[in-house]
Symmetry: C2
Subunit: 440 residues, 2 copies
């Protein structure tokens, strides 16, 4: 199903109150300040004007022209009638309003969907936080705006989605789209999985779910999406108490977690365990499609190298056995105190040359699938110097980077980021990323 | 053993080169800029002067007066003779210089120790990154300075220690002391554990080890320290490859990890699995000594509440069953859409009053040992408002806080921090912290 009218609309109408701080006002502000280039129409029966982003908009008393998408933040009880009224003029409705099945008003929700389907209108929500189509500069939600990139985030929980977007900004993740689908009265996770699988701006999909209603359809959609691009899944409601909490939150019958776990595996999805891991995985898949299991660790400090090695092995990856030729070549230019076994310890005073050459030599080794490069810059070496070595080293294999030491590495990490290389803040998180890359 | 002359010295001498960028210069700079109030004497046979921190120091050609501690960064081969020479004038020596047993020079290292012991001088190192005594404003290392607080960090790896200090700054952790003990030719982890166990400025101890030489002594010291205060241990070299890497790094025979694991447990230490967890645990123990297992989760957003619940249960904690009186009391003032089961969902528009009152009511419940308070601030509520509710709520039980959403919560997190309340950035990390607190 083509959902471009939601994520790349050319015109939208926003329904609700346009007082400062009101949901509809905040969404309108986000759309305008986000640089949306299509037509934006605020609608409220009281009319008037609203100033936002330096522009003044006339508030229409009713919608009187065709738009792609309507964003609706009016009281729940009048939503069905509104949809019936504007049905002939819209293709999709994003219903932000709460007060439907999540508080027991199943009947009102059914009515909403019936009216929509009667007009061939597709619905996202109700009880949701809205949507983003980042490459179309369309921020149809009150959540924090994000920079364009390859990650589509599908979230059953609005608050989780909002927090994830904000944390994604902190982690310098670029997004293609965001959808909070709330009660999923019409469109649900399966529809979005299929749509983003075919969306050319989306390089990876992240999915937060508590439960799904139609397991068979979900599995099929997940398998399809995973065949096209990495799908990272965070399942909440795994434990008995968590499942009960999920039931009272989104009304999801979470079902046995074991079934979900097996389904994710079978479909080829990347399941993560924690919120933080969702971002780490997203960062990794923004850079690489996959990586083999045989890892070489290159470090300038022993301890972190040992921690990475421990974690890699614990996660079932292999510490690559370097070819004798590689060992010899490394020996030829590395100082004698350096360890040329894997992990390769370049010791504290490792500079640009030592890092770059080592990365290149190790990268050529046929026993190595991926590299994990660690740097704890000592006072006498700038982190940018090592960052440049990583950036400039000729290597066609995945290189996962762990620079660490707070303030000391800020400039190096920024430089890496400018070249599309994400930093992972601890050896263990870097190692875990290689695990996910090896699952594709 | 009283090691105050290392961590609270009244006078120190620094040996080495005082050219800018040289190790001895950087250590001198750290001592001076760190505000050390005792006497500082740079020593180098060439004499001259060195300017640092706006002061000019005369470089003495040799040490000619009594000092507590000597910090030595001269070539390895002349260290034993230097120690023999200054032995009568010093109580402790911190040997930064590398080139001893870690590169096969066992003989030189033995000689160093023999000379020191002959004069009754105790040695830290060689091949180490130095020490901090933060409350004595003594920064005898080239690592980044930290703010005063309760954590003593003992690290077998210098680079790990340096990275940990810098990351600790990012995590707003306060330190009492830092010691990188390198090859541990004389003093080792057991000595420092015992010393910090009795140091009144130290509230918790964090220990990074790859391996220990005298297991029986270590176990005894660990048990002693754990009986006095929380000891957080991160063991590296757990896996087969990791142990091999550790052997080439610090020469540690890491031994079977299962033995270490059992020893940590038996001694009552808090073992963490990853570097990041070391900080989370340190933050928790800076606030609380311990917590019971029955946790109440208070949140304004369902999804994160479910994630926290999942993690708590997975870690063997209990989702507290609230007393009927508590449920009734919550019902009396919370809006009907709120869930008063545990997790308690205050829903998105929860304000100061709703949070504060809920925390106080739940805190009085005898079935509750600890509280996990989650907040994802919606656009119309400032994170400071919820932070104030947490700060001002009257509650004598441990409260662990998870505010999240990047930029949106910056001010709230800062306000919490000013009141000694640390924030944990994800529901899962907050949950894990309660696990560690329950282990004491």
């Amino acid at each position: 199903m083509n959902l471009d009218f939601f994520f790349y609309p050319s015109s939208v109408a926003v329904f609700g109150s346009f007082k400062k701080g009101a949901i509809a006002y905040e969404i309108l502000r986000n759309i305008v300040e986000g640089g949306f280039e299509g037509k934006v129409i605020p609608v409220n029966p009281k009319g008037g004007t609203v100033e936002v982003g330096g522009k003044t908009f006339e508030i229409r008393e009713k919608l009187d022209e065709q738009v792609d998408t309507a964003i609706i933040a009016v009281p729940a009880k009048i939503v069905p009638a509104l949809i019936d009224e504007i049905g002939p003029l819209i293709r999709g409705a994003v219903v932000i309003s709460a007060g439907f099945s999540e508080v027991g008003n199943e009947k009102l929700e059914r009515e909403l969907v019936e009216k929509a389907l009667k007009h061939g209108v597709r619905v996202i929500g109700p009880n949701c936080a809205g949507i983003f189509g980042v490459h179309g500069k369309f921020f149809g939600s009150f959540e924090v705006r994000v920079k364009p990139g390859g990650l589509a985030l599908i979230s059953q929980s609005g608050a989780f989605g909002g927090a994830a977007l904000a944390m994604g900004n902190d982690e310098r993740i670029g997004f293609s789209a965001f959808v909070s689908y709330g009660n999923a009265a019409d469109l649900n996770e399966s529809d979005f999985l299929k749509y983003f699988a075919d969306d050319e701006n989306t390089k990876a999909i992240a999915l937060y779910i508590e439960g799904v209603k139609d397991g068979r359809r979900f599995l099929k959609a997940l398998r399809y999406a995973s065949s096209k691009k990495p799908v990272i899944v965070l399942k909440a409601g795994k434990s008995a108490s968590g499942a009960k909490a999920a039931a009272s939150h989104t009304g999801s019958l979470a079902g046995s977690y074991e079934i979900y776990h097996a389904a994710f595996k079978q479909a080829g999805a990347i399941e993560v365990e924690e919120m933080e891991e969702l971002f780490d995985a997203a960062k990794a898949f923004e850079m690489y499609q996959r990586a083999g299991k045989r890892v070489a660790v290159i470090t300038n400090s022993g301890g972190p190298g040992v921690l990475a090695t421990d974690k890699l092995e614990r996660l079932g990856l292999e510490i690559a056995k370097l070819d004798e030729k590689t060992v010899e070549e490394l020996r030829s230019f590395l100082p004698p105190q350096c360890s040329v076994k894997n992990p390769i310890d370049l010791i504290a005073d490792a500079d640009y040359e030592r890092y770059r050459k080592t990365i290149e030599v190790v990268c050529r080794d046929e026993n190595v699938d991926a590299l994990l490069v660690i740097c704890v810059p000592p006072i006498f070496i700038l982190s940018e110097e090592i960052a440049r070595a990583v950036i400039e080293a000729e290597c066609g294999k995945p290189v996962i980077v762990n620079f660490m030491a707070g303030e000391l590495i800020k400039d190096g990490v920024e430089l890496l980021d400018e070249h599309g290389i994400k930093n992972f803040p601890t050896p263990e998180r870097a190692a875990r990323v290689l695990k996910w890359l090896s699952m594709r």
